[in-house]
Symmetry: C2
Subunit: 449 residues, 2 copies
């Protein structure tokens, strides 16, 4: 089994997309078979050696960070395609295959893996399952959880579990597969997965719409859902536009000052047969005063151009090292919650630039507070940490989640109590002990110390 | 809190649709509030009193049987509709509401709860979640698990958990809600649930098809899926027809001797606009030799009449006290598995009448061996028990499930090992101890002693 321990490798494999913790693993190992994973967990257990299961490291919560001399178990040499079953349809792969490669392999068989997000090309299947990845089409297809039909996992005792074996129906006691999904490497190392696939969906078109205000978003979603088969409803506020214009080097196709909120709305449109229906909905929304401006894609290329106004936001603001929160509430509560939270941040820090975007059709909002150019990263993050309890208290009051899709990792570990009760956290600790009695799997992640 | 302990009530509330165990609870209690459930669990814990959580008792595995002096906790007085959220859309109800009442309440709001099966009208929501009920439209809509957005549960320590609170996205550590789904009352008593709903689906039409043989079923399913939006693909063998004819008092609409297998195929057909597409698929299947005979419903009433040939099977054979097995394998393996199993039973018991029907599109087969009229129930069930290990050994060889949708209860408890490894069973036991340290919740169910 290859092992790396040079400085550059330690730093590269020791962290994810977060930059808040130092990368200090003791080494990085690259198993190539399930047996090697079993063997290395058993050895680690004997040695009391902490392990950090490691995928594409695109996480945003520090779940794959190795800051305390852990051994990083990189799955990148276990990326074999095991089988595509065109009939079911499903795909079986080793955990280190990227989600992008799964999407490509499915497409080669005229099939479709529907979970998708900006980092899917470099994210690995194991990591996407361990964090129950969501993304841009949850509205239509749900999160990763719904597509996992089978899992092979090595527990913290070095035992191999074969969970559910690709079955659709299997009511034989607790579905342990569900515990592994979203466990962020704390219960086992995922080594193989069987994922459900779909037939290739019909072509889609995109509406870019400008809204009169926050309270127009939900009626608009309801109206659009009536006549169209929606696959995405992704909103962003007007403040995002400047940043994306600068990043893309082109102008926004609507009047960027006309509306406080915009949305990219994707709907199924085979042979462009639903364009008329879309325009009818658009006009109804204009008449109702919910929508003030909009445009409809006339081709796949145009649809992609419109998508860019939502997809490029995160990267365009990265230089401003934003203080991010990935929050959710029940869908009906989104407008009231967003208004209350926006007011709270503006009151405390009137000079901060606050951007909102996200998957509003799932109740999931990404809040991004940008660092003022003249603040240091340290001071700014201190201000963010100071702000957090008030944000989370509001999330709790709205019975929401402090991590809708990014997971807990190191970043939200001490904030778990805002969304989960003490009894729940105790139960999670107890369950963790059953799968990993010596606490060698991703210690310090997810569960508060 | 009302309590009953007369003989008739004990016998009525002490058992489910199975008839293999005596009904011997010590009493039946009827809590009306969550607080009363909490209080009674705490008291039971203090007294070391075993409880059997009890819904509509339509289960087929003895999960709700009280045979050893347990207190039956009937949820039938907790059947309030708490809220319908038309926007999300979702419905929040107390656990004792029937699934039929949920379907009706949804319909009154122009909405649809898609999980459906023969006993849905009398099954309760709590029980349907505790057994992760499947049914006739899993092919299209999945099992109960996919529709549970939030759960309130009282654990074996009398603590109230509020799991997931109706959120779509919530990646804050282990999803304990998933453990409760399918736990058959062994981890907690479900007291309230929030379920996702759908808009009312378009009208459907039904094809009744006769197949040339086992190996025609899967290509036919693939062909039909291409051009039609299928909501059910329910098969049965020709031996079922005599029984249903006798029960319904009318003749089968096709030549019942012409084909070894038949299927009821339901597809979306708003305004009957897909009739031509359906006939085209039907003709293609005739040409390929897969289908030998068939008929297409011309109205909702006709569709219901065709459905009856599948739906009435179970009841029509009940007087023959069948030896039943609810098995599943991966979809692609269904034909080979069914052939092997059919051969096995016929070889061992050439005189037994073996009927097959089920949800073949989900890989789920119901095997029903009928008691010969001149055998006693006792002798016949002894023969069934003798046959079981060979059946389950075959299930194991095909990596299938010994209980696809009926759950484990008392009936399959000692057969769990055919589908789950010893390590998995140990983990389940350990998890059970965390939720119910004194073992007062449905003791003896699911987990082998």
């Amino acid at each position: 089994m290859q092992t790396l321990s040079d400085e550059q490798s330690l730093s590269h494999y020791g962290r994810d997309w977060t930059r808040f913790w130092p990368a200090r693993p003791s080494k990085v190992v690259f198993p190539e078979t399930v047996d090697e994973v079993v063997e290395l967990v058993r050895q680690a257990r004997a040695d009391g050696q902490a392990l950090v299961p490691s995928g594409g490291r695109t996480g945003l919560s520090g779940g794959a960070v190795a800051a305390h001399g852990e051994v990083v178990v990189s799955m990148e040499r276990m990326r074999k395609l095991i089988e595509v079953d065109e009939f079911e349809p499903s795909i079986c792969v080793q955990a280190g295959m990227t989600v992008g490669a799964v999407q490509t392999a499915a497409a080669e068989h005229g099939l479709f893996y529907p979970v998708d997000w900006a980092a899917a090309a470099s994210s690995q299947v194991g990591g996407s399952i361990a964090t129950n990845a969501g993304g841009i089409r949850v509205l239509r297809y749900g999160m990763t959880r719904e597509w996992v039909r089978g899992l092979k996992v090595v527990t913290g005792t070095g035992e191999l579990l074969e969970l559910n074996r690709g079955l659709i129906k299997n009511n034989t006691g607790m579905d342990l597969r569900q515990l592994m999904i979203g466990s962020e490497g704390t219960l086992g190392i995922i080594v193989e997965a069987t994922l459900g696939l779909l037939p290739t969906p019909p072509e889609a078109s995109v509406l870019l719409l400008g809204f009169s205000g926050l309270d127009a978003l939900m009626p608009a979603l309801a109206e659009l859902r009536q006549g169209l088969s929606l696959s995405a409803f992704e909103f962003f506020d007007r403040r995002c536009i400047d940043h994306v214009e600068a990043a893309l080097g082109r102008g926004f196709p609507l009047d960027a000052d006309a509306c406080p909120y915009y949305a990219v709305v994707e709907f199924e449109d085979p042979g462009q047969q639903n364009q008329e229906a879309a325009l009818a909905r658009f006009e109804a929304l204009m008449e109702a005063g919910h929508v003030l401006d909009g445009t409809l894609s006339q081709s796949g290329a145009q649809a992609e151009e419109l998508w860019a106004w939502r997809e490029a936001i995160s990267e365009s603001i990265a230089p401003r090292t934003p203080y991010k929160n990935d929050l959710s509430v029940r869908i009906s509560r989104v407008p009231a919650f967003l208004e209350a939270l926006d007011a709270l941040v503006r009151e405390r820090y009137p000079d901060f630039e606050v951007l909102w975007f996200g998957h509003i059709g799932d109740g999931n909002l990404h809040m991004n507070v940008l660092r003022p150019e003249d603040w240091s990263t340290e001071d700014f993050h201190a201000a963010g940490r100071e702000l957090s309890p008030a944000v989370f208290e509001l999330v709790q009051r709205y019975e929401g989640s402090v991590s809708a899709e990014h997971g807990v990792g190191l970043l939200k570990r001490d904030d778990l109590h805002w969304s989960r009760s003490e009894t729940e956290i105790e139960l999670m600790r107890a369950i963790k002990r059953q799968f990993d009695p010596d606490g060698i799997l991703n210690p310090g992640k997810v569960l508060p110390g």
